[in-house]
């Protein structure tokens, strides 16, 4: 097979670097998903649409003449309140119920978000120009946009800050206590309702950061939210809940997979490859788990 990527080793380096930088961004979104899944037992299909909304906030700033990189500070603040409002409106009614209810309800939220973004920002593919330039490596054969390096750096920064916050702060401890045992936490005086609202808000804020970074590194479109949801879902399944190094690693793995799939299968199959990977991971997991089942022969 004569794939271009196997002939040119530099393309391989290019794809790997792109994949890793992109994967760090995915890991940030996945961290938010793991947080809400672990604490509230909710799978949020609207996760990707929160990301895109965060991106559009940065894009609006760009249109207003402010540098879009400031979006990584403004967007999470706005998104925190969006998440908080969403919790108070809908999510608090599905927390204790069947997971499928939360999937369907957030699916409905995702549709509403997509349409509203379509109305407000239009159906065009947009990108906010950061004008950071590019870095050339290896004799100009590998080009790396500085915005991608910036986004990976900011992602790591925020992830570390959040980990420290979860470890040290009072709210962070309350969130971890609720995740371990909501009932016991309640008995010991933790206002779980507040904790849930804060968790969902923090998740939305993480999405806001990721969205602002996506607005300068990739492209925005009202209907591309679902792939981000699926990517973060995959990362969480592979890494497990509450295992941050594993989340970062599997995020990078996913980024690598996507970049190579892009080169080998062609860009038109990229999203298809992501969804097929999801199916394969789930099926693999099912066969691995079924081996562990014990029964009498």
């Amino acid at each position: 097979m004569d794939f271009l990527i196997f002939k040119a080793p530099m393309l391989m380096v290019q794809a790997s670097l792109d994949g890793i930088l992109l994967g760090i961004l995915f890991a940030l979104i996945a961290y938010g998903m793991a947080l809400q899944w672990g604490v509230m037992n909710i799978i949020n299909i609207a996760q990707g649409d929160l990301v895109i909304l965060g991106g559009y906030i940065a894009y609006t700033m760009y249109l207003a003449g402010i540098h879009p990189a400031w979006g990584v500070i403004v967007s999470p603040i706005i998104m925190y309140f969006v998440g908080w409002a969403l919790y108070k409106l809908v999510i608090n009614k599905v927390v204790d119920r069947d997971l499928f209810i939360s999937i369907l309800a957030t699916f409905g939220i995702a549709i509403v978000f997509q349409q509203l973004m379509n109305f407000i920002f239009g159906a065009d593919v947009v990108v906010a120009q950061s004008e950071y330039g590019t870095t050339m490596l290896f004799d100009n054969s590998v080009t790396l946009p500085n915005s991608k390096i910036f986004s990976a750096f900011i992602s790591v920064l925020y992830a570390v800050a959040l980990v420290v916050y979860m470890k040290k702060s009072r709210l962070g401890r309350a969130i971890r206590a609720t995740a371990q045992n909501a009932r016991a936490a309640k008995i010991l005086g933790v206002d779980t309702e507040k904790v849930y609202a804060a968790t969902f808000g923090i998740n939305a804020a993480l999405c806001g950061i990721a969205g602002a970074l996506i607005s300068i590194t990739l492209t925005l479109h009202p209907y591309v939210g679902l792939p981000y949801t699926v990517r973060s879902f995959m990362i969480v399944i592979v890494a497990g809940l509450g295992n941050l190094p594993a989340v970062a690693l599997s995020g990078m793995g996913l980024g690598l997979f996507e970049e190579f799939a892009d080169y080998i299968l062609g860009t038109e199959f990229r999203i298809g490859a992501v969804f097929m990977l999801l199916v394969f991971i789930l099926v693999y997991r099912r066969f691995k788990l079924s081996k562990k089942r014990e029964y009498l022969k």
């Binding site: 499928f100 999937i103 509203l116 298809g272 969804f275 999801l278 199916v279």
Partner: protein, 354 residues
């Protein structure tokens, strides 16, 4: 079927007569009526595994889209080279004669029923081992992946879409096309209903319910759950494929993500309709689909542009506030009508609580 009560007999014959007369009574709404039949079929078959088996699938759209592409491909491929047909993109370089058209659609529908069922059986062992939300997300992924992949395959039109053969020009009656597709879908509806009703009276349904209520215990009781789960999914796939084939012919144009693997519309509609009417009941999906269709057709034009926002809000409201659906609500209100016996003692206790 000797044990049908007289009351039911009147109901069923009334509905069949209404169904047969509908295209003449509401001549202008034949396409909508065809849609209604297909929607009911989709909701009923979704309910068979979502409601009865407890396996909430977002991926039945996979079989629907597969059926659509298969019917059209077979209909074209039997007589003409498929690649050249899709390349010419709707231009009439090849024309089906009347006989060719009906032969093609007949064989195509046969294929589009059997192949999705086989596909469901083949992937069933891997996919149906997943439980709960993993199954839901996995099937969601399958449906979208299928759409994305179909959008990249050249021979079935890739991103440009696939024009299905036009209705034969020799039949000059302008009403014929609408009637043909209506009666086709109505026949499918009757077939589906009879089959699902048969399942409702059989041991198979009890097994599906046992799987829904507690799969591990069902397995411990000696039921080979996997076998029944796969058969249940194959039944859904069979009817979804047929429904897709009919819709492909009716719409006349197949797009990979907007018509065939339309997870954003059909894929959600079938779940919503079944939940709206009441999961796990025979009539629930029928009522849910009818209500939903009337609501959709009535309001869609009034709130032009906002219909998807309304759809999203509707999903949230139904799921959060009416998870039991219409039939579930009626059942709680009038349990006697559903053959549930409540002791006087319990009734008194409930009254005292109030």
């Amino acid at each position: 079927m000797g044990n049908i009560k007289q009351k039911d007999l009147i109901l069923y014959s009334g509905l069949i007569i209404l169904g047969l007369a509908a295209p003449y009574l509401f001549s202008a709404f034949k396409v909508q009526l065809t849609y209604l039949c297909v929607l009911i079929v989709l909701a009923m078959t979704w309910n068979l595994q979502g409601g009865e088996m407890g396996y909430n699938s977002f991926g039945n759209i996979l079989f629907y889209g597969l059926g659509m592409y298969l019917t059209a491909s077979v209909q074209v491929g039997m007589f003409f080279p498929l690649a050249e047909w899709t390349e010419s993109g709707g231009e009439k370089t090849f024309v089906h004669t009347t006989a060719q058209y009906f032969q093609g659609i007949g064989v195509g529908l046969l294929v589009s029923a059997i192949v999705p069922a086989i596909v469901a059986g083949a992937i069933g062992y891997a996919i149906l081992g997943l439980r709960g939300h993993y199954f839901a997300i996995c099937t969601l992924g399958l449906g979208i992946a299928a759409g994305e992949i179909a959008g990249g395959i050249e021979i079935i039109g890739a991103g440009q879409g696939f024009t299905t053969p036009p209705f034969p020009a020799e039949i000059v009656d302008v009403e014929a096309r609408g009637k043909f597709f209506y009666f086709l879908s109505f026949a499918l509806l009757i077939g589906t209903f009879v089959f699902v009703k048969y399942i409702y009276g059989s041991r198979f349904r009890l097994i599906l319910n046992a799987i829904r209520d507690n799969e591990d215990k069902a397995e411990a009781m000696g039921i080979q759950t996997m076998k029944y789960k796969i058969v249940g999914w194959m039944v859904s796939a069979f009817f979804c494929g047929l429904a897709g084939g009919i819709m492909g012919g009716l719409i006349g144009y197949i797009d990979s993500t907007d018509v065939a693997f339309d997870g954003r519309e059909m894929g959600v509609f079938m779940v919503l309709m079944a939940i709206l009417g009441g999961k796990g009941t025979l009539w629930g999906p029928v009522i849910g689909a009818t209500l939903f269709h009337f609501f959709k057709e009535g309001l869609w034009t009034l709130i032009l542009g906002w219909q998807y926002v309304a759809l999203g809000v509707l999903i949230v409201v139904i799921v959060v506030y009416f998870p039991e659906g219409l039939m579930g609500w009626l059942r709680e209100k009038y349990p006697e009508r559903f053959g549930e016996v409540i002791d006087d003692k319990d009734r008194k206790a409930q009254v005292e609580l109030k």
